[in-house]
């Protein structure tokens, strides 16, 4: 198992989330995200010789890397589609480092972006077996799946609606320090979350991410090359990944959820432990994901996240800074790019450029990504020192 620094992030570019992206195509949002990341890294697109992209929902279902390469005007020595749902962003970072270590390329751009137009719902069509065995029963979409997960936690461990609502409360509170967040200027109290409409009981509206248009790109290179970079590099110290199932009906029991493997693996690889992490940048499409992730990370015992969130503070100046950009619950979810927002915020914090939400002396961050219903999970430890 590798234990040395595996790669370095030298550039980030992120679009300010907007509810609707009228007049934009997904390819143009991809290109703009890449332009910003290249500019941030202080390189030109000719320096990029690797490309990782996501599957494009509703556009270009096949040959995605070639289509994006052509559009950007690059000719990479390595390219691929990474298809891990919300874990795609973090999943790209270690794959980029691995391709560089394998000698296939030197500098990789990892990019995710999506348009979102009013009245147009872009979604992947459900295919078998979910289309055959879930959809006919009235279960389609992520809201149902995450509601089932939340109900199971409440029944098995006695966690309460207030416990989950506190997670959404902190996300919104942190978003007030991020002018790019879709919910900047719109704080909510725990009571507001509990009073919001029930979408799929026990999930309330304000426990669910807002779909937005946006994009994010991250430039990864070798630790050696990163020494000459424009910004202070952010290093990949450890990674863990685990996939356990696809459909929520086939999920393991709560004690077997995949973050129980991927997070400890990332921490072990980085030779660190959870108490030495300065920023928790945890994937939060729903409150129920953060709840089980805190438990999988070993911050509290299984079933006890409720006491943990009640007894600690989660702002940039809190006991456990968590999703200081507002999380996706506060920032908005630009489809797969939402998962990359957790990487981008970790880079801001570890460079020390997070402004009025800067964590004092931030040295290490745990970034997680989660796809389907806690099915595909990736965890990264990022650090400010090699």
């Amino acid at each position: 198992m590798a234990s040395q620094t595996q790669g370095a992030i030298i550039g980030i570019g992120e679009l300010k989330p907007v509810r609707y992206s009228t007049g934009k195509t997904t390819l143009s949002l991809i290109a703009e995200s890449v332009r910003l990341a290249i500019q941030d890294a202080g390189i030109s697109k000719e320096d990029v010789d690797g490309l990782l992209v996501g599957p494009q929902v509703g556009e270009t279902p096949q040959h995605v890397p070639a289509t994006v390469s052509e559009y950007l005007g690059i000719d990479p020595n390595m390219s691929n589609t990474v298809d891990l749902g919300g874990a795609t962003g973090p999943g790209m970072i270690w794959r980029a480092a691995a391709a560089i270590q394998a000698g296939m390329c030197e500098t990789v751009v990892c990019v995710l972006a999506n348009k979102n137009e009013k009245g147009e719902t872009l979604r992947s069509p459900n295919r078998n077996p979910i289309r055959e065995f879930d959809v006919p029963f009235g279960a389609s979409g992520a809201n149902t799946s995450y509601a089932l997960l939340k109900r199971q936690h409440m029944e098995e461990y006695g966690s309460t609606q207030e416990d989950f609502a506190r997670i959404a409360y902190w996300a919104r509170k942190n978003a007030q320090l991020n002018p790019d967040a879709i919910f900047h200027g719109k704080p909510v109290e725990v009571e507001d979350i509990l009073a919001s409409p029930m979408i799929a009981d026990p999930l309330h509206l304000l426990e669910i991410v807002m779909p937005v248009a946006g994009g994010a790109a991250v430039i990864v290179t070798s630790p050696e090359k990163a020494e000459k970079a424009k910004h202070k590099p952010v290093y990949l110290k450890g990674a863990g990944e685990k996939i356990t199932h696809r459909a929520v009906s086939q999920a393991p029991n709560l004690e077997g959820l995949p973050f129980n493997y991927s997070i400890p693996r990332a921490l072990d690889q980085a030779r660190t432990n959870i108490e030495d992490i300065d920023l928790l940048s945890l994937y939060d499409c729903y409150t129920s994901v953060v709840a089980t992730t805190l438990e999988s990370a070993g911050l509290c015992k299984p079933g006890e996240f409720g006491d943990f969130v009640k007894n600690h503070t989660f702002g940039h100046d809190g006991d456990y800074p968590l999703n200081t950009h507002g999380g996706q619950l506060g920032f908005g979810q630009a489809d797969l790019a939402g998962g990359m927002s957790h990487v981008v915020e970790a880079v801001h914090q570890l460079r020390g450029e997070a402004g009025n939400r800067q964590i004092p002396d931030a040295r290490n961050a745990l970034v997680t990504g989660n796809g389907a219903t806690l099915s595909e999970t990736t965890a990264l430890v990022l650090g400010g020192e090699r």
Binding site: N128, P129, R131, E132, F133, D134, V135, P136, F137, G138, A139, S140, G141, N143, T144, A147, L148, L149, R151, Q152, E155, E156, P197, M198, I199, A200, D201, P202, L203, A247, V248, S249, Q250
Partner: protein
């Protein structure tokens, strides 16, 4: 008439591998595959055992009974055709034989309890008979 009213409830998209399951449902039975080697029961239908990867599975009649692992009361349906039926209940049932499946529950919200005993109740949704589940009746 609006376009939405023309959307019919989506039925199962049956494959050659899953056909015996749906034939069983039509005949009022819950049929599941059992692995000829490790003897574990399997859902959803496939041609290889996901436990021991043996490639010979046999269709058998299952009890149709299980316990409720989790549930959700749907107020906003993920598929537009289901919206007029809200609120309704979906859940995951762990079958007596071991596998779990997603289903529609014919149980009032107030009567739903964790691990409650449930049994199959085949229901017709449009032209499609589907294995819904209801509260298990008292054993005679």
């Amino acid at each position: 008439m609006s376009e939405l009213q023309n959307i019919s409830l989506p039925g199962p998209t049956i494959t050659p591998v899953s056909e015996p399951f749906w034939e069983g449902i039509k005949a009022g039975r819950l049929s599941l595959q059992q692995c000829d080697k490790c003897e574990q029961w399997i859902f959803y239908p496939r041609e290889h055992c996901p436990h021991c990867f043996h490639h010979s599975l046999t269709w058998k009649q299952a009890s149709g009974r299980g316990r409720l692992k989790t549930w959700s009361v749907i107020h906003r349906a993920g598929h537009p055709a289901w919206q007029e039926h809200t609120p309704y209940v979906v859940g995951v049932v762990t079958l007596e034989e071991g596998p779990s499946l997603l289903t529609h529950l014919l149980i009032e919200e107030a009567a739903l309890t964790y691990n409650m005993e449930v049994e199959m109740a085949i229901s017709e949704i449009g032209p499609h008979p589907l294995p819904f589940f209801k509260k298990q009746e008292e054993m005679k």
